[in-house]
């Protein structure tokens, strides 16, 4: 019987910006006892049928020479199946799909309003790797199946008979194996995976002139649509964050073995959050993780790649998509982009960086992007992440709205009712923000300037602002 392609992959890459350090979903192996800090990683998964292209990026703090990765892969990889990507591609995809804040200014009740939008979440990219070899490998049941130099990486494809042999080989070659890793390695070995081991070739790196490690890409064919995260939890200090950008033809990607939850979105927030959006988003995300007992994968963005509204960044061009491995995109020329006329309708079309929103493009590249964010550890995520592509093309974005109050002092019946409405709105905004982030109501109100004696940016200085509203005065008018 024809043997089916075995297990997938544990992918880890590291892009190195020697400054910041984040995590990767794979298994990190350091040569020295250097404190390496795993916090967040990004993986782009291009998938159609059984064809998969994975691009892995991690922030890594440390010397490139000390970095190496071990990645279980389902099949033997030829040199042509391995590539090194431009980190800017992931940065662009990250910006395009980032949770966003949209800002509106209340008009003079007798006038109009202006709006603009900003994107807030932007992450750094990173990715390193290095590989080791050993002539005595065979004695340990480890076979070096192939050896390549790709870009700044030395890559080995290993197969192993048992975890102890692989563990010894890695240790003998200067890798530090976290305790507990051998059991997970053993599980992968019994599933007949190969191991992709990468290290940085410093000479090649200096020739190429990069002072950071670029994301590694691999292309392979496997029926299994998953991301191995188990090895990545072995050496993890606390929880890790993983961002998965799935690019597919049909529609939204969701996890089949963990609950996929949409983040709360679309609600009005106090205007001061504009200067504190990163904190807001972090705390909001943590609160949602807690609410789901840290057993969920969160949906941050799901959209047809040919447009956006509002745009946190322009959609990726066809050549960028191609570079990311979207193999069904034939035309390398940039996609035509149509700017949507600004409607000026409050609460409808927000507007983006540079004031643009991009409408659907006819005959687009047929690429649907799903951005998933998962915070995981070994206890709550015992199993690797499994995915499926669904036919769901409903758009979703983590989008938050700021409405700046009108600060004018005009007096007219409309202005008075506006001020009353504003009070109700601000109360709701406080509740929303507190529920989403767990922040204290008192502290939010203070920052909004709603407490007597404080002067916040949003304080409603108009009349009827005190608690003694004459609520009945318009009752029978």
């Amino acid at each position: 019987m024809k043997r089916l392609i075995p297990y997938l992959i544990l992918l880890a890459t590291v892009t190195v910006t020697p400054l910041a350090a984040k995590a990767f979903c794979g298994f990190y192996v350091a040569k020295a006892d250097t404190k390496l800090f795993n916090k967040a990683s990004k993986v782009v998964m291009v998938r159609d049928g059984n064809r998969t292209v994975l691009t892995m990026a991690n922030d890594y703090q440390g010397e490139p020479k000390e970095f190496a990765i071990v990645v279980p892969v389902p099949t033997m990889l030829e040199k042509d199946q391995i590539h090194v990507a431009n980190p800017a591609l992931i940065d662009h995809l990250d910006s395009y799909t980032a949770p966003r804040l949209v800002e509106y200014f209340d008009e003079n009740p007798c006038n109009r309003r202006v709006y603009k939008a900003m994107s807030a979440m932007s992450m750094d990219a990173a990715a390193p790797a290095g590989a080791a070899r050993n002539e005595a490998a065979k004695k340990l049941g480890v076979t070096i199946e192939a050896e390549y130099t790709v870009g700044e990486y030395d890559i080995l494809i290993l197969s192993a008979k048992e975890s102890s042999g692989l563990e010894t080989w890695l240790t003998d070659n200067g890798y530090k194996i976290p305790s507990g890793a051998s059991e997970v390695l053993g599980s992968y070995i019994r599933q007949n995976v190969k191991f992709f081991v990468a290290k940085v070739n410093l000479e090649e790196q200096s020739k190429l002139g990069f002072n950071f490690l670029r994301p590694l890409q691999i292309a392979f064919e496997s029926p299994k649509f998953m991301l191995p995260i188990r090895l990545g939890t072995v050496n993890a200090n606390g929880t890790q964050d993983l961002f998965v950008f799935a690019l597919t033809k049909t529609g939204r990607v969701e996890s089949t073995n963990y609950r996929t939850v949409k983040l709360p979105e679309g609600m009005d927030l106090p205007a001061y959050v504009k200067d504190d959006f990163a904190n807001f988003y972090r705390d909001m995300f943590s609160t949602q993780v807690k609410k789901e007992d840290m057993q969920a994968v969160f949906l941050e963005y799901a959209w047809d790649m040919s447009w956006c509204d509002p745009c946190a960044a322009d959609p990726l061009s066809n050549s960028e998509l191609k570079e990311l491995g979207v193999f069904w995109v034939e035309d390398p020329t940039p996609m035509p982009v149509y700017r949507k006329p600004q409607s000026g309708q409050p609460g409808q079309v927000g507007n983006a960086w540079g004031g643009s929103a991009i409408a659907p493009v006819p005959a687009a590249a047929n690429v649907y992007v799903t951005r998933l964010h998962v915070r995981y550890d070994a206890e709550h995520f015992p199993e690797d992440l499994m995915f499926q592509e669904t036919g769901n093309r409903e758009n979703f974005q983590a989008r938050y709205v700021l409405r700046h109050p009108w600060q004018g002092s005009d007096q007219c019946p409309e202005a008075n009712s506006y001020r009353e409405e504003l009070k109700r709105r601000q109360t709701k905004e406080v509740e929303t923000l507190s529920t989403l982030t767990g922040w204290e109501v008192d502290s939010i109100e203070r920052k909004m300037g709603l407490h007597p004696g404080t002067s916040g940016a949003q304080s409603n200085s108009g009349s009827n602002g005190s608690s003694g509203d004459k609520w009945w005065k318009d009752l029978w008018r």
Binding site: E183, R190, S222, K262, Q295, Q388, T390, N392, E394
Partner: protein, 275 residues
Amino acid sequence: MRLKDARYFQIAVLGSLLCYGFFFLGLDLTSQHILTTLTTTLCSQYIFDRYYLGQKFEYKSGLITGLSLSLLLRSNFFYFSALAAFLAIGSKFIIRVNGKHVFNPANFGIITLALLCEEAWLSPAQWGSTTLLAFYLICCGMLVTTKAARIDLCLVFFASYAGLLFQRALYLGDPLSIPLHQLQSGALLIFSCFMITDPRVTPDARLPRLLFGVAVALLAYYLRFKLYWNNTPLYALYFLSPLVPILDVLFKADRFEWLKESISQKNMKLIKETT
């Protein structure tokens, strides 16, 4: 109060699961999908009952099928929901051998549509483990208290499937939290408590019924861990259901009826008449 018909319990459990998913868990269940599915199943059931077989309207069966479809199936367009519902009920009346339908209606509707088009899919993991645990307990309680006719099949299937998952974990040296986690699937819950236990489509005799449960578990395991499909118990039941009429021929036994009292009464009458 003791209810004679286990289907009332099934409707209550499925209905609660649907309401919980819709109102509290924020699942991607649209009211349009639910309404279309329920309306189409009930209307189809009515039409087939009254005009095809000329019998009483079996709204309970239609409702159970409709609720199962609402819970498991997702689609972009309401007409896919309607098509799945129609296929489900239609299969019950059209695809029959010796007066017994071959496929579980909801299973037939879902898998046929999922095999045919990309616009329909299943979302197996949207319930969360706490919810599922609670509903597992309720379902077990239901099966025991109502003495549902096919609890043996439910138990054999579940034990076999769980056994396969645990042996895999032991073989791989994985922690047992992995198979335990794999058992926490909404689709698996609905499947093991409401689909495979459908007494109208399972083998009548006990021995083949138990073998059938093991076979479904083995095929589901094979599809899941060798071919890497999702929702494999549903596919396994779909592919193996055509074997049931053959098993019924090989192993004769009384046909199940939902209201056993009526059969017992008929038997009593027969006995009296013959004596």
